[in-house]
Amino acid sequence: MQNHRKSSFLKLQGNIIRNKIMGFLRPDGRKGLRNHVLVIPSSICALHVASCIASQVEGTVSLQNHYGCGQLLPDMEISLRTLAGLGTNPNVAAVLVVGLGCEGIQADMLANRIALSGKPVEKIVIQELGGTLKAQEKGLRIVRNFAQDAAMTERVPFELSDLVLGLECGGSDTTSGIAANPVIGYVSDILAEQGGSSILSETTEMIGAEHLLAKRAVSDDVAEKFLGFVLRVESDANRMGVDMRGTQPSPGNIEGGLTTIEEKSLGCIHKGGHSPLQEAVLFGEVPSKKGLIFMDTPGHDVESLIGMAAGGAQVMVFSTGRGTPTGCPITPVIKMTGNSKTFAAMEDNIDLSVAGIIEGIETVEQAGQRLMKELLDVCGGRLTKSEALGHHEFGIYRIASSL
């Protein structure tokens, strides 16, 4: 199977060499597949100004950040780490941080963290400038200059070893575990072989088969860290009187054919293919290793995508059984399904169908080849449907309520 996969992939790779993928070289050495100028409100109070600025400049996006103030320190640290990670993501050319002035996440705190990446970063503070209109004026000039300069970013050849792919599933159904997720796993394995990375996430989904992923960890430290994430999610739920393990699979899952929690969890883990687990990272943390990575994210799709984007993923692959239009502000999200009815109903939002596997007319390997081709096209610049339709869903994982 390994040889078949390698030789089929090399045929694909031949096409890529003919139409070389070019990436945007960033000062920290990472390569982006998009070239966004990003406006980040360091707290919700600066959100409107940030949105207004971004909406008036070509090639610029803002983050709908509702956090950054009224947070317990450990919770705020996660928000800060995530916002900084999004700023340093290689798909981002330059960053303007907008702060109100009195918030928990100060604009200069965030701007300084992002500036460590070497890319152009500026900050404006509404209270210092004397209100939103003056802040908008100053911010617009900064962002206009960023947008003009961004096009001059050096382009360099982009290899699969430069890619960090975020893996996600949401709105899962019976087809997810037997079609869409194994296809993602196929691509994840190719990436690992080629020296690239894929990030498996959603700690909640690991419950039931976590021991199997832990077995594949390259060291006891990695296994322990990963298992620690799972233990925490379960004990947090137990403290609130919710038995996550005992209520899975749900009656709906059982009706659909899932027999045990192991089987359900394995269906999700399958997105990560079969390669060794190299590292377990916190929400929004940039991995230090290549290969298959696990990131501690919630099952909440939007938060999970944002966590992986903060971790440096340049593209996401998202399997959905029921259909979801979710995108990401700074990365393309390739939406795929193994359910032909879902694809027919939501073709406007879903990029790829692998329902042929369910229909018995295509193998996982064949569908995997098609997903690879789609992935390479998207790396080369093709917009996914969520990108083209402007889906910029945003959320950050919280570990405490607002103060």
Partner: protein, 97 residues
């Protein structure tokens, strides 16, 4: 339509039905080549059937991993689900293992 069921990994002991399958009919699937098994039970879309003899107490394989344990002998072509499988991880008393 070539196949009626899918086997995810070479070493699996079950196949998953790709549509509602009738008892008594043959189900076609790929597992180290094209294979066919006569179904003892009706197997609904998304549900599983055994593709070889499974002994009582044996671990049931899907995705190349154990998804549970047979609580009785399961002949090939029989439906494999909550009535003849127990989870190794899901029971409250096993929660700590």
């Amino acid at each position: 339509m070539k196949y009626d069921a899918i086997v995810v990994n070479e070493s699996d002991s079950v196949a998953t039905a790709l549509r509602d399958l009738e008892a008594g009919k043959n189900a076609r699937f790929a597992n180290k080549g094209d294979r066919e098994i006569n179904l003892r039970d009706a197997v609904r879309f998304g549900h599983k059937f055994a593709i070889r003899d499974i002994q009582k107490g044996e671990q049931i394989k899907k995705y190349g991993e154990t998804i549970g344990r047979a609580i009785c002998d399961i002949p090939p072509g029989s439906c494999v689900h909550v009535h003849n499988v127990e989870s190794l991880r899901g029971r409250g008393d096993n929660a700590k293992s």
